[in-house]
Amino acid sequence: MFGAGGGTSSYEEIEHTDVVLLWGSNARNAHPIFFHHLLKGVHNGARLYVVDPRRTESAAWADGWLGLDVGSDVALSHTMAREIIAAGLHNETFVRRATSGFDEYRAHVEPFTLEEGERITGVPAAMIREAAHAFAKADRAMICWTLGITEHHNGVDNVLSLINLGLLCGHVGRYGSGLNPLRGQNNVQGGGDMGAIPNKLSGFQDIESDHEARGRFEAAWDTTIRPTHGWHLTQMFHAMETGELRTLYVIGENPAQSEADINRTRRLLADLDFMVVQDLFLTRTAELADVVLPGSASWCETEGTVTNSERRVQRVRKALDPPGDARDDMWILAEIARRLGHDWGHPTSEQVWDELRSLSPMHAGMRYDRLEALGGIQWPCPDEHHPGSPILHERLWLDPVEGMLAPFSPTVDQRPFEALDDTYPIRLTTGRRLESYNTGAQTGRYSSPLHRGESLDLSPEDATSLGVVDGEVVRVSSRRGAVEAPVRVDEALRAGLAFMTFHFPDEVDVNQLTIDATDPRSGTAEFKACAIRVDRINVLAATGD
């Protein structure tokens, strides 16, 4: 946010905040231990508002649940902002001193009256007003979000619209007030930190514009670094389609099951000239590969670090020997380098980390022994005496503000890419369940009473109008594909809204349905919204269709 990509608060702060706005996040299931901290806050008196099309397990705890239409997040945020400004509840001092672009923002949200907000989002105006006032009046308040915000074709605008809300009320950069994306995977934050994104070197140093940083990396690595942004995932698939990308090295990812519009993805992967897959398992992606390198489990068969959603860098350690011919991932990389003519030797994870520390100022103070002693350290940690940074952007509260002002960002209210119509009249949104994770490559290998396979979750109203009952297997189709799945009637859904996961792709290949409409800036596909139809199978059979 405003530079480095990471949440601004620590988990512990949510235990002492006054209002929590949980937006597009079912943290109860997707981030259970974060939700522990959140519930401590609730038990300490914090009021919780949950924005989600479904009344999720998280929403069930809310003082107010706002069941908006899928993809109307920007409109809801605008409506709340407009109401806050109209009621004179925004933090004028903070806005004046620490932000820029307020006048444009105010003009931009002006048309979004409560009535207009209700019309667009479907949430009753009184509920929007209640949440807006609670958030604005709170001494401390937090906004937390997850993939419900980002997995949209306008995901970046969704995020920016929430940041705008935080800025409007001064709910950022203070203890108990912050803006926090909850990361979906154990090192998605660390991947960004380390530079595994197309536009940044390690430590969020821009590969194009930060010449000084690039120079340090070039000196350290004794090579030239092209000062151009690379491709993000969506662009890579686009490049495969245009023939620009012919070779792919996939480490620990299963795109052949996890990508939206999966039939297209598989076709593109299969058409590559050469693909290497390095993974724990012979995944569906690995089955398409020319070479498969059995890797190791990064969390228990190797040494290293990961970064969590509060920017805390923590050590992972080897507890088990990998089985059979599986090798440490770093060993594999070093061997490939050696066989390509670059002898790196076989550095330890600590040696690699120390090199990183020498190049990434925000990690500079994070010696392995300090990570151990302090139970992890939150970046930035610029030197070896620095305790780490529980809160980001405290500078915005200095008078005068240190560094650049935090800008309000203009964002555009848009509907999901794929509109509903008579042929595909139901909105399908996707998400996670508690016991499972992503494509189930890991969680499919343990069993529990919670594992109940894939289902098409439907509202009671839709189940009635479709004439289907709990457990009945139906055909679910989108413009891109069709799957069969048993129905599960769920009161958390409203008429016209259906829900599935992609935890069980071997049984129900849900990503045949999803759409690869992606946000051009983040490269994230709109997993949260596509149009489907649901048909009874026995009726199809009866009509000979």
């Binding site: 929403a59 069930a60 705890w61 809310a62 649940w65 706002l66 949430v123 509202s459 009671p460 109203e461």
Partner: protein, 619 residues
């Protein structure tokens, strides 16, 4: 809260019973019909929804009374209505003896097997039921009724006693006292309960009575009669004194709590009044469950407005706008009388937002206990009111700062509260002229067992045990006195040669005894004292909440030791068992969380040390 409820639906009757006590559901999310336009867009499941937890026990009672037991469907519906996790609701329901989560027929007779009723032949009565119906819990031939043994029903002055509960709409609860095997069998077969016994006290009409002066004389249902007999003058006096003035009078009166702990009431009220945290609460402890105790019932049944007025004064003095009366579940007549009195007082502006037009608010709510002796412990009452298991809390913190709902709370016994009327009529110093220096005022005693005229008696502090025994006409039938249980099951036995014991707080303490709740239960020479001790041991084993090890296991081991003394199959001889009982007593006294465990051995130990039972001293 993300509740997980089983699919079992409530019956229409169960749903209706719950809705009547809780009001209709507000949305599809809390048990109503799903409104597909509103419920699909908004829900309020937060603090407000969870804040209804304190209505759990009333809701459980509603189902118990309608259906006779709490089915999984009914429990689930209550949980949905109140946002309570079902495991917790089940934990609460199974804590109370009068609630059942297992199927039960609609008609149940609870037959007292406790101490006073034993003196009146309850063992024979129970033996006949066992013979004719079967062991407790056996269904009658038509499957519509059963019976259970019960701890003391608080009807010791008209023993033997039983209570009939009939589930339905309306449900009925009737006390049968005195009763007989024939009468119990008749109601088990579907017969109607006889008319309830009226309120009667042996001293009725005695001009020296103070707390009891209206009992049996003034119509307990009539507010006008209560006023004509001096009612509500004390509240007028209180208002003219102001809250601090009331506290000063109570302190000057040196009123001490009558619940057993003898804490100075004025000090307690002052401490609550001074707390800055709001709101303050007032609770009347009417969970009169100590075996042999029935004095509070006499007041509530016979003079309910006195309690309502006294609580209004206490609320005024402590700055509490809301008062709870935690009334034991086995007192249907008292519940009826009090419920009526509260409604009348409210309709006449004597309760409500502006009491007597004097600009202060106070209202009352009855909370019905459900069969748990431990809920007479003050912090257990808080938990019970809050919809939790009635387990005592650790102290500190104390109720004056962290009482019910963690707010400053004044909690007083019924008898303590009605004394306040006397104080505000006579003035604090005037009140203190009665009694002794350290024990001021009058005291109610419950005489039962083998006495000629059992009942509730009022005497000035300072009267001796002999005085009371004489008032009650001495030992029934002129038989020799074997012993007296003073203070209840948590009290102790005294010898016939100790009758000159002055019944004051200090006198009892000096004699290493306790007045407890004012129980004076006499036993003649026919009583099998070891069997009586077995019953006392069983009582504590049944009533322990189970929270702490010393009491939870100690009461069981104590009962087993007494059982071995009874059977003669001792381990380590009689002396070994007596030493074991002493050791168990000490750990329960020293290390239990609350007064139940701390006193669970006192009667048994007193019988051993004071009477020499088991060592050839008694009998």
């Amino acid at each position: 809260m993300d509740l997980t409820l089983t699919d079992a639906p409530p019956s229409e009757a169960e749903r209706d019973a719950v809705d009547r006590v809780l009001g209709p559901p507000a949305s599809g999310w809390d048990g109503g019909a799903r409104d597909s336009t509103v419920d699909s867009r908004i829900a309020h499941g937060g603090h407000h929804a969870r804040g209804r937890r304190h209505e759990l026990l009333p809701a459980l009672w509603a189902v118990q009374e309608r259906a006779g037991f709490i089915s999984p469907g009914a429990l689930g519906y209550i949980c949905r209505r109140l946002t309570v996790p079902p495991a917790e609701a089940y934990g609460v329901a199974t804590f109370y003896a009068l609630l059942s989560c297992e199927p039960r027929p609609p008609r149940v007779v609870h037959v007292c097997e406790d101490l006073a009723c034993r003196c009146a032949g309850s063992q024979d009565l129970i033996a006949q039921l066992e013979e004719q119906v079967g062991p407790e819990g056996t269904l009658t031939a038509d499957g519509a009724a059963t019976w259970f043994r019960s701890p003391c029903l608080g009807q010791c002055d008209r023993a033997p006693a039983a209570m009939l509960t009939v589930a339905g709409d309306p449900a009925t609860e009737d006390v049968l006292a005195p009763t007989s095997a024939g009468a119990v069998l008749a109601v088990l077969r579907g017969g109607r309960a006889p008319a309830p016994p009226g309120v009667a006290i042996p001293q009725q009409g005695d001009p020296s009575l103070r707390l009891l002066r209206r009992v049996g004389i003034v119509d307990p249902a009539s507010l006008d009669d209560y006023r004509a007999a001096g009612g509500y003058q004390a509240l007028r006096n209180a208002v003219s004194l102001g809250p601090e003035g009331v506290v000063r009078e109570v302190k000057d009166a040196r009123l001490m709590g009558r619940g057993g702990a003898a804490f100075p009431t004025g000090v307690k009220w002052e401490a609550v009044a001074r707390q800055s945290a709001r709101p303050h609460y007032l609770i009347c402890n009417a969970d009169e469950s100590e075996p042999g105790t029935f004095k509070d019932r006499a007041i509530i049944e016979g003079d309910p407005y006195a309690l309502v007025e006294a609580m209004t004064i206490a609320g005024y003095a402590t700055g509490s706008e809301h008062g709870f009366i935690y009334l034991r579940g086995e007192y249907p007549a008292a519940h009826h009388a009090l419920h009526h009195a509260i409604a009348e007082a409210r309709s006449r502006g004597l309760l409500g937002a502006d009491v007597m037009g004097e600009g202060f608010a106070f209202d009352l709510e009855i909370r019905k206990g459900a069969g748990a002796y431990i809920c007479g412990e003050e912090t257990a009452i808080f938990n019970s009111i809050e919809g939790l298991r009635g387990e005592p809390r650790n102290k500190p913190p104390f109720p004056v700062t962290h009482g019910v709902f963690a707010k400053p709370t004044a909690i007083n016994n019924v008898e303590t509260l009605v004394n306040v009327l006397e104080i505000l009529s006579r003035g604090g110093p005037g009140y203190a002229e009665t009694g002794t220096e350290a024990s001021t005022g009058t005291k109610l005693f419950c005489l039962s067992g083998h006495v000629e005229r059992p009942g509730t008696y009022e005497v000035p502090f300072g009267a001796t045990l002999r005085d009371l025994l004489d008032l009650a006409g001495g030992v029934a039938g002129g038989r020799p006195l074997q012993t007296i249980l003073l203070g209840g099951a948590a009290g102790g036995f005294v010898r016939p040669d100790e009758l000159d014991l002055p019944l004051t707080m200090e006198g009892a303490r000096a004699a290493n005894a306790t007045l407890g709740s004012g129980v004076i239960m006499a036993f003649d020479d026919t009583v099998d004292l070891p069997r009586l001790l077995m019953r006392i041991a069983a009582f504590f084993r049944s009533e322990s909440c189970g929270q702490c090890v010393p009491c939870r296991v100690g009461t069981v081991r104590q009962q087993e030791a007494v059982a071995r003394l009874l059977s003669g199959r001792t381990r380590g001889g009689v002396d070994g068992e007596l030493a074991l009982i002493a050791e168990l007593g000490q750990v329960m006294r020293d290390a239990s969380i609350c007064g139940l465990g701390q006193t669970a051995s006192s009667a048994i130990e007193s019988a051993i040390t004071r009477l020499g039972v088991f060592s050839g001293g008694a009998r």
